[in-house]
Amino acid sequence: MDINHRNGTVPRRLVGRIKGMVFRSHLMHSMIFAVALLGALVFIIPFAWTVTTSLKPDAQVMIFPPKWIPSPIQWRNYYDALVRLPFDRFFLNTAIVTLTSLVGDVIVNAVVAYGFARMDFPGREPLFYVLLATMMLPSQVTMIPVFIIFRKLGWIDTFYPLIVPSYFGNAFYIFLLRQFFRTIPDDLEHAARIDGANQARILWSVILPLSGPAIATVAVFSFMFHWQDFFRPLIYINSTHLRTISLGLQLFKTGYGGTVYNQMMAATVVCTLPSLILFFATQRYFISGIVMTGMKN
């Protein structure tokens, strides 16, 4: 076909070039998709193994090579796992700790981050760097001094050591929220001040409504951390009725070869579901990160 762009059409050499560009674009996208698919498979295989093992009879758990589709499928493992141990109690305990900690993480860190982002006071920057420096401290260093503090308060074998620290700030969440708050235009704040708003009113009515993605991110991270937390309950909780699900899952181990893996995997799948559901429900929300503005440029 002979085409001439001066008549509204595109020259042959340009058609070829465009077709080449489109082909390369499709090829690139296909390659990226293939690599992403491979990566997804690598990450999903352990969870897939967990799910299939949760449905296996005892004799198929350790078969090598693994039997990916159990036969027969033993749904009873789920019932046995959740009834054998008081998982209703463990779920309730974990929900109490997670939700109360989440509230603390969101509210307290937002207030502190607002101070660092929007309020000018002597020593603000050095104080912020000190805050960041605390992220460098490994938890193993502070483990015993913190235990002593809680012991003196009489809080060992209670939920307080798991919940109260969330109401005293978290350096990472403060940093994350501070950075987000700094992207919100000052004009909105000035407009609110003209209308008579004080700092608290500005935070509540202007900043927080515009910070949905960042707040959601903090909430998701907080939920997943507290839901899966193992080490702090291990150290501070002694009584069985106060165990969280992470400690509860450990009770399937019997030592010296007697662990009931299929039931343990069944309980693991059930305990993982809330985190999975939350992640898939909120991933678009906290990935988006769009700041809305009411001012014309």
């Binding site: 012991r151 019997t254 030592g255 010296y256 662990t259």
Partner: protein
């Protein structure tokens, strides 16, 4: 007048806030809360400042032990009711932790944080870490005063000696095990290594082990003659090497636990034996992972203890095996090891804690422990019970008498316990694995392993003031 920037906090406001915060801290610091079981309360009690307790005061024993719900059920149904019958004013708060490293972390944190448990169940090699720091209570006086049933002649020799540090009794044996050969009956039949009754012919010498392992291997079906027990270079690898070292007539460490001494002709004999088997393809090398290697029939001969039998039948209800004592090199030795029960010196109810320890050592509870967990217990009066005369779950070859016979072998050695055991084991295990993977020669591996392990040991001893 220029308006003040409303975003600024004034210096006066900042100082007010700091003042209020500082006052709050001071008020909190001036009112420490008395905590039950704290070291401060113990000091106050000793100085006579605490009030005299009521006659029927309930004494709480905090017990930190290992593993899961089956142990908790066992305690709640078989141990604690009988204990409370003897001591109605005692209460046991039990916390069971599902892994040894996590249990160790919890013991360390609780003790360092001033809230030690009364009693712990622990691995034998935890004991020196606590005893050299003065955390664990010596038990000689307690035993003499309150527990006549705990006497040396009641226990398997190495299980008793393993409870001592610097000549003092520092723990009580809870259970013991030692590793000896097990045989897959089906694979032995297939290889023609059975007697007229169809039972596997146990190897009598190392040469028999080599010959049988080579006959048992079947690469086309992913079957090995034998395999290294835990080739991860961890503590179990060293313990397994120690078994072979004992048979070769060697020692892992001197009697004062001051210097490793396995870089000897005996150590080389043991390690070279492994490496040669791997080169022949008769021993599964490190790095090759086969899940369920034993019950799924991927190995003909392996070293284990009766405590693992429960997993075999769970993973393969048709699996059958037999056992024998260790083959002869210079000895038929094994390493006698097990779990300890320990009493913590700074715990609040130390006397009650000892009562709980001593209760575990009664023949009735010792036997209940063994039956419930299918384990060998270290008391002679328990080992003669009818329970141990029956084959395990009807498997004819799975008889406890073999493990008892192994426990009596003159070449046995106790599990060495000393500070820095785990850390030095990692150094030794890493070199052993390199030799098994043929990246270095056995001579190089032993030389390097002994140097590195001795450095770690010297450092641990110096740090803890043992020297």
């Amino acid at each position: 007048m220029m308006a003040r920037n409303p975003g600024l906090i004034s210096r006066r406001s900042l100082l007010k806030m700091l003042g209020v915060g500082g006052a709050a801290v001071l008020v909190a610091a001036c009112q420490p809360k008395e905590v039950e079981g704290s070291v401060e309360e113990e000091v106050a009690t000793k100085s006579g400042q605490a009030p005299v307790p009521a006659a029927e005061e309930v004494k709480t024993i905090r017990y930190l032990g290992g593993f899961g719900q089956s142990w908790e059920d066992f305690y709640n149904t078989e141990v604690l009711p009988k204990f409370y019958d003897l001591h109605p004013n005692y209460k046991v708060e039990m916390t069971l932790i599902g892994s040894w490293p996590d249990l160790y972390n919890k013991i360390v944190t609780s003790t360092a944080g001033g809230m030690p448990p009364e009693v712990t169940r622990q691995k034998d090699f935890f004991t020196p870490d606590f005893i050299v720091r003065g955390l664990q209570q010596e038990l000689d006086e307690y035993v003499a005063a309150k527990a006549p049933h705990i006497a040396e002649d009641q226990y398997v020799p190495h299980a008793w000696s393993n409870m001592h540090w610097s000549g003092k009794l520092v723990a009580l044996p809870l259970l013991i095990f030692n590793h000896y050969p097990h045989f897959n009956i089906e694979l032995y039949k297939k290889a023609g290594l059975v007697d007229s009754d169809g039972a596997p012919v146990a190897p009598d010498t190392w040469e028999d082990v080599r010959e049988q392992a080579n006959k048992l291997k079947d690469p086309s079906n992913n079957v090995y003659g034998t395999f290294l027990r835990d080739e991860g270079g961890k503590e179990d690898t060293v313990n397994f090497f120690h078994v072979w070292l004992a048979q070769a007539g060697g020692r892992l460490i001197d009697e004062e636990f001051s210097r490793f001494m396995f870089n000897t002709p005996e150590g080389l004999d043991a390690l070279t034996f492994w490496v040669d088997l791997i080169k022949d393809g008769a021993m599964k090398p490190p790095g090759v992972s086969i899940e369920g290697i034993i019950p799924q029939g991927h190995v003909g001969m392996w070293w284990h203890a009766s405590s693992y039998w429960v997993a075999y039948r769970r993973d393969n209800p048709d699996f059958e095996w037999s056992t024998a004592i260790n083959p002869m090199r210079k000895t038929r030795g094994a390493i006698v090891r097990g779990d300890h029960h320990a009493l913590f010196r700074q715990s609040k109810e130390r006397d009650a804690g000892f009562d709980f320890l001593a209760f575990h050592q009664t023949p009735e509870i010792t036997l209940a422990y063994g039956k419930n967990q299918m384990m060998i217990m270290p008391r002679y009066d328990v080992m003669s019970d009818a329970f141990y005369k029956e084959p395990y779950m009807g498997v004819p070859g799975a008889v406890y008498s073999v493990e008892f016979e192994q426990l009596e072998q003159p070449g046995n050695q106790p599990q060495p316990i000393f500070p820095g055991y785990q850390e030095s084991s990692y150094k030794i295990g890493a070199q052993l694995i390199l030799a098994c993977m043929q990246e270095i020669s056995p001579e190089q591996a032993l030389d390097q392993a002994e140097k590195e392990a001795n450095d770690v040991l010297a450092s641990a001893r110096r740090l803890l003031g043992v020297d």
